[in-house]
């Protein structure tokens, strides 16, 4: 699936949720399902700033495709990062680096997070795009 197809399917999924409880429950589920990150990435270097609990993120690159692993110590936050991974994992770096993540607004997550937390969400998205940009630039140069 393309990034936008995934975004659209998430929007559809969320559209049946009536309230924040459903959304949070879903995020908790996603969070619990997120495969753990390799222990060696659980260091300060891989921490995302701007989150109020710990979130570690790593990205790998092969043949133009970027893949992410992530983990968080709080499960709802982990669910949020899992959502982002779901959308951006195994996509072309060239697309990820410029992607418009319109699903965030559409699924009511931003309003559902207090401003500092939606900052956390935005920091994660930003970091993921930055990884894509960095890999893309590095490999183009070669």
């Amino acid at each position: 699936m393309t990034i936008n197809e995934i975004q659209d399917s998430i929007i559809e999924e969320f559209s049946i949720f009536d309230d924040w409880m459903d959304r949070y429950s879903y995020l908790i589920e996603l969070g619990n399902e997120l495969p753990p990150i390799d222990q060696k990435f659980k260091t300060d270097e891989y921490l995302i700033n701007g989150c109020q609990s710990k979130v570690w993120l790593n990205a790998e690159y092969e043949n133009g495709i970027i893949s992410y692993t992530a983990e968080g110590d709080a499960v709802i936050v982990k669910g949020i990062v899992a959502l982002l991974v779901k959308v951006l994992n195994n996509q072309k770096a060239s697309e990820v680096m410029n992607v418009d993540l319109y699903f965030i607004d559409k699924i009511g997550l931003k309003e559902n997070l207090s401003p500092t937390r939606s900052n956390g969400l935005l920091s994660m998205a930003k970091k993921m795009k930055l990884y894509a940009l960095a890999y893309y630039t590095k490999h183009k140069e070669k």
């Binding site: 924040w20 409880m21 109020q52 709080a74 709802i76």
Partner: protein, 407 residues
């Protein structure tokens, strides 16, 4: 003794009567900052609309008026803590600034290489880092009084920390995490028996009980206005005159000088020697209004009521399976830090937030306390006299709901 008229009180605080996410706000983050009664809000408004003018400077009507109010505030604060003289009341920008002032100024005068400072394991970062900075500069060192599993200071260990190198003791009157109200009279007496002065960090004490600095015979006492229902950006350093007279200034600038020339500058009298620059006179007068408000309700009534909140919340929280309260001193203010088995405090707090319940998570600027228990963070619910028993019920319900969702 009359009891608290909760409904009336809650009407005095406009912010409490609102909804967040369509739920009535339950504000349990009072340890971080307290809300402001109408009397404070309106006074600030009035100053800005009618009397605002720089103090101690102009010869004109408004300036005279503001100066009077500013100095009357100082007198009010003196009376509130029963200091001997109003020159012992130094305005600062908050508790943190007060401790930094003292650490610098006392340090310059009395601390040299090899000297020792006694603090405790339950201090807020603001009562640790200023001393660490000083110690780095002066090659002095810090000795730490530990606490036991209930959160009580080990007074015998404290006694043993004194040497002939001990220069000052700086300890929280009341802990912002454990809630422990420390045995300050004993702490002071022991220090004085070694001729060592004591600073009490009153940031979490002044709003909960009557302070009498003369009766305590405490050398320095500090607090922040914003934690006692007053404005941000203003705080107090009380110091005994004999110390303040001897200590050198911290900040230089307007108002703290008598005469300035490039050859020789002489400093102003107390309290002005320690007050450089245009003061936060709006904040100072706002603080006074807050103190008057407190006095009208009666600090003893507040204490009694908050004690009930403490006992009720302890009882109800303990009923929750897997919930552990840290800090179980017999002498405690109405604050609870706790965690729930196998649930991250941040998750619980996110769900509580959605229910309109404002708690704090994290290390509460007291990492050594977290380290003591081998944890990273906790939830903190800090309750004051405008909180209700029903709100505690809502907290308990909220926690259970979060537990259901998360476990």
């Amino acid at each position: 003794m009359v009891d608290i008229d909760l409904q009336k009180i809650r009407e005095d605080f406009p912010i409490l009567n609102q909804k967040v996410y369509n739920k009535p706000l339950v504000y349990f983050d009072n340890g971080a900052t307290t809300q402001k009664p109408r009397a404070v809000i309106e006074k600030i408004n009035e100053i800005h609309s009618l009397t605002n003018s720089s103090t101690h400077r102009g010869v004109h009507y408004l300036s005279g008026l503001m100066t009077e109010e500013y100095e009357a505030s100082r007198e009010k604060i003196r009376a509130f803590i029963n200091a001997k003289d109003k020159s012992e009341i130094i305005y600062t920008s908050g508790t943190t600034a007060s401790i930094n002032l003292l650490a610098f100024s006392f340090g310059e005068k009395y601390i040299s290489e090899g000297d020792e400072i006694i603090i405790s394991e339950m201090e807020h970062h603001s009562n640790i880092v200023p001393w660490q900075l000083l110690c780095e500069r002066k090659k002095a060192s810090i000795k730490v009084t530990p606490f036991d599993e209930n959160g009580d200071l080990l007074i015998d260990e404290y006694k043993n920390l004194f040497t002939e190198k001990t220069r000052i003791v700086s300890i929280a009157h009341t802990s912002n995490t454990l809630g422990t109200v420390n045995p300050i009279k004993e702490i002071i007496d022991i220090a004085h028996s070694h001729n060592v002065p004591v600073l009490l960090d009153g940031a979490q004490a002044i709003q909960h009980e009557k302070i009498d600095v003369q009766e305590l015979d405490v050398d320095f006492y500090v607090f922040s206005a914003h934690k006692i229902y007053g404005p941000t950006g203003i705080g107090i350093l009380y110091g005994k005159q004999k110390w303040l007279e001897e200590m050198p200034p911290w900040q230089g600038g307007g108002n703290m000088v008598k005469n300035v020339s490039f050859n020789k500058t002489t400093y102003n009298n107390l309290p002005y020697k320690f007050e450089a620059g245009t003061p936060n006179y709006v904040g100072a007068v706002g603080l006074t209004k807050a103190l008057e408000y407190i006095e009208n309700i009666g600090i003893e009534n507040i204490r009694t009521y908050e004690n009930k909140l403490l006992h009720y919340s302890t009882q109800e929280l303990k009923k929750i399976e897997g919930l552990r309260i840290f800090g179980n001193s017999k002498n405690k203010i109405s604050v609870q830090i706790f965690n729930i088995d196998s649930v991250h405090p941040y998750d619980t707090a996110m769900i509580l937030d959605k229910l309109g319940i404002a708690v704090r998570t994290g290390s509460h600027c007291a990492q050594p306390v977290m380290d003591h228990f081998g944890i990273d963070s906790t939830i903190r619910a800090s309750m004051v006299f405008y909180n209700s028993f029903e709100e505690i019920d809502m907290l308990v319900e909220g926690i259970k709901k979060a537990q259901l969702m998360l476990q």
